[in-house]
């Protein structure tokens, strides 16, 4: 038998070489985007934030001439603002929960079951977005009047629920389609019935994308006004309704600014929550791209 072949000498040769540690390349593109976006996205927000504290800010001063918390006090001490915020949160939560409860199983059916008219019905949900809302106003109002839903919490919930259908069906459908069938089969194999499979396996597996759908729904519903005006008045006044009232025809821009900054807090929280639950791809996958 031959002896062990000697290793190529390269190892010995380079052993004395100094170890030079390279720095990881700097992500310049990233910084460029960061700066660009900071200007485009953050500047408007920051300016608005400054306005919230400005009592007098006239051109061409770079900073407000007079700052103070006066508008904050005035805005936040208003009963209706808090009531509206509370109400909005209640409505939005209710809508989102109901929507999830009725839409997710439906989305599952669209994704996995074969039934007559499946594709047509699926497409029909596009009309929620495609037909201008006000075109539906009279009809909806008529329907709701006879049901005594005008000006009630549940009336607003119902009309906003309709508005959530598109996102809450379409996004989950592709979420469910993305769940590996074998995961479901494995569960059935160990003895789970179809319903159990849905709740224990499919739903949690699709969760990131479903969370995206829920988030979009929550945000959209929270800021929705058209349907809320129509059905909600006079008794139901949501946060954005109050906000628009402040912004639209008020002389003092500060009211709006204050509310704007005030609403950053929930937005930031949502944003953080969103990042925790899902990656961007989860969002996007949901939209069928």
């Amino acid at each position: 038998m031959t002896d062990l072949a000697t290793l190529p000498p390269s190892g010995a040769l380079q052993a004395q070489q100094k170890r030079v540690r390279r720095r990881a390349p700097v992500d310049w593109t990233g910084f460029a985007f960061l700066i660009g976006l900071a200007v485009v996205i953050l500047l408007p927000l920051v300016v608005t934030a400054v306005w919230a504290f400005a009592e007098v800010w006239r051109f061409p001063a770079i900073l407000p001439q007079r700052v103070g918390l006066g508008y904050w006090q005035e805005t936040l001490s208003r009963q209706d603002v808090w009531q509206a915020l509370w109400l909005s949160l209640r409505i939005t939560t209710t809508v989102t929960v109901i929507s999830a409860v009725i839409c997710f199983p439906a989305a599952y059916a669209f994704a996995r079951l074969d039934f007559p008219g499946r594709n047509m019905l699926f497409l029909a949900f596009l009309s929620v977005q495609a037909f201008p809302k006000f075109g539906l106003i009279i009809a909806t109002a008529t329907i709701f009047l006879t049901l005594n839903l005008i000006g009630t919490f549940w009336g607003v919930v119902l009309i906003q629920l309709v508005g959530t259908l598109l996102y809450m069906i379409w996004i989950p459908v592709s979420a469910f389609q993305g769940v590996d069938r074998r995961l479901e089969e494995a569960a059935r194999d160990v003895g789970a019935g179809p319903m159990r499979v849905f709740w224990s396996i499919t739903l949690p597996q699709a969760l990131p994308t479903l969370a995206a759908a829920i988030l979009i729904t929550f945000v959209n519903t929270f800021y929705e006004t058209d349907a809320a005006w129509l059905i909600g008045l006079p008794n139901v006044r949501t946060m954005p309704m109050v906000m628009i009232a402040f912004i639209n025809n008020a002389l003092e821009v500060q009211y709006g600014a204050v509310l704007f900054v005030f609403l950053w807090v929930p937005s930031f929280l949502l944003m953080l929550a969103a990042r925790r639950v899902m990656g961007a791809d989860a969002f996007a996958k949901g939209l069928g791209g």
Binding site: D180, R182, L183, E185, A186, A187, R188, D189, V190, G191, A192, G193, R196, S200, I201, P204, Q205, L207
Partner: protein
């Protein structure tokens, strides 16, 4: 614990016939491998047994009971998927316990049985981890444990180790075999690795184009393939097109005794060719010598350029371009429409052969 009987099973997906006219009985406690090229219907057959598909024709009976129309959750089968199909939102414990929870067993018993099966697959102490925190091999073992814990009568495995590396695959396949034997369950194993099939099965079912080609013990299928397809598919094989005439088959410059006439295929295993003194037999030219450590394969060409693989002892050394003699010890001739005919040259057998044959 259970016998599976497939009678006249056929399955079509739209226009594609995935399986046709299958009759097969898998005996209690047997481990059967389904072997065949991609698309031959292996997975389809397994999924039919598991209840994930309904046959277009025929019936499936388990222990004599017709289960053709039962959904998967009501069959005494458990499947291990190629992609392991672990539920990533549950811990290892959760994955394994799921089937038991469905059976409403008391908590303590669930815990105990999960512990036991984790031990069985060598993963004690991993219960609290998430599947994503395990390596590929560990994940497959969890999938196995998940199927085993519900004590199925029939274990179905669909290429469970295809994505793992050779070492791990070998270890796991031996483990599966051991566990199956210990628990005495019936198992159907799909693979496209022939070595795997040869190594663990009691019987092998060779499929091609949705039809059974041959059913038999591993050695039998290897040694006595019934069709040219099986011969070429199982194990390494030199397949030469030749002509039968005058009690001989002539193929690629090689002439060997054989009966019959007309075109035929000559099949010779690489290990059935021995290198010999050049003058002693027929000559080949060495193209390349491949040293597998435990044995050596010589890639050579016959007079007319046809490739011939020869497998010999690991101590043999030849050079590319060298001309060496060969002696064919066994060969098989496949002629259209006839049973294969097997031949062997009468060479002297060594002491060991005589003792253990």
């Amino acid at each position: 614990m259970a016998q599976v009987r497939l009678s006249g099973i056929a399955k079509a997906f739209g226009k594609v016939t995935a399986l046709d006219a299958m009759d097969l009985v898998i005996e209690d406690g047997e481990l059967v491998c389904l072997l065949g090229p991609s698309g031959s219907g292996k997975s389809t057959l397994l999924r039919l047994i598991g209840g994930f598909e309904t046959p277009s024709e025929g019936t499936i009976a388990i222990d004599g009971v017709d289960v053709t129309r039962l959904p998967p959750e009501r069959r005494p089968t458990a499947m291990v998927f190629q992609s392991h199909a672990l539920w990533s939102h549950m811990t290892v414990h959760g994955n394994i316990a799921f089937g038991l929870k469905l059976r409403r067993l008391p908590r303590a018993e669930i815990r105990e049985r999960v512990e036991r099966v984790l031990d069985l697959v060598g993963l004690s102490g991993y219960g609290a981890r998430l599947p994503s925190q395990l390596s590929g091999g560990q994940q497959q073992r969890v999938a196995l444990a998940r199927s085993l814990v519900i004590e199925p009568k029939i274990l179905l495995l669909d290429e469970p180790f295809a994505s793992l590396d050779q070492h791990l695959r070998e270890r796991l396949r031996d483990e599966v075999r051991d566990i199956q034997q210990r628990l005495g369950i019936t198992a159907v194993f799909v693979t496209h690795g022939q070595d795997e099939a040869l190594a663990i099965s009691d019987r092998i079912v060779v499929l091609a184009d949705g039809r059974m080609q041959q059913v038999g013990r591993p050695g039998e299928i290897y040694a006595e393939p019934k069709t040219a397809f099986v011969a070429g598919f199982i194990g390494a094989m030199n397949m030469l097109d030749g002509t039968l005439a005058d009690g001989e088959i002539a193929a690629g410059g090689l002439k060997l005794p054989a009966e019959g006439s007309g075109p035929a295929r000559l099949a010779i295993r690489p290990e059935d060719i021995a290198l010999s003194e050049p003058e002693e037999g027929r000559m080949v030219t060495v193209r390349r010598m491949i040293d597998f450590g435990s044995h050596v394969v010589v890639d050579s060409t016959l007079a007319d350029g046809t490739h011939l693989r020869v497998q010999t002892d690991k101590a043999v050394r030849v050079e590319a371009g060298e001309r060496v003699g060969i002696r064919v010890e066994r060969w098989t001739v496949f002629a259209e429409g006839e049973e294969p005919r097997r031949y062997r040259s009468d060479t002297v057998r060594s002491f060991r052969d005589v003792r253990y044959a």
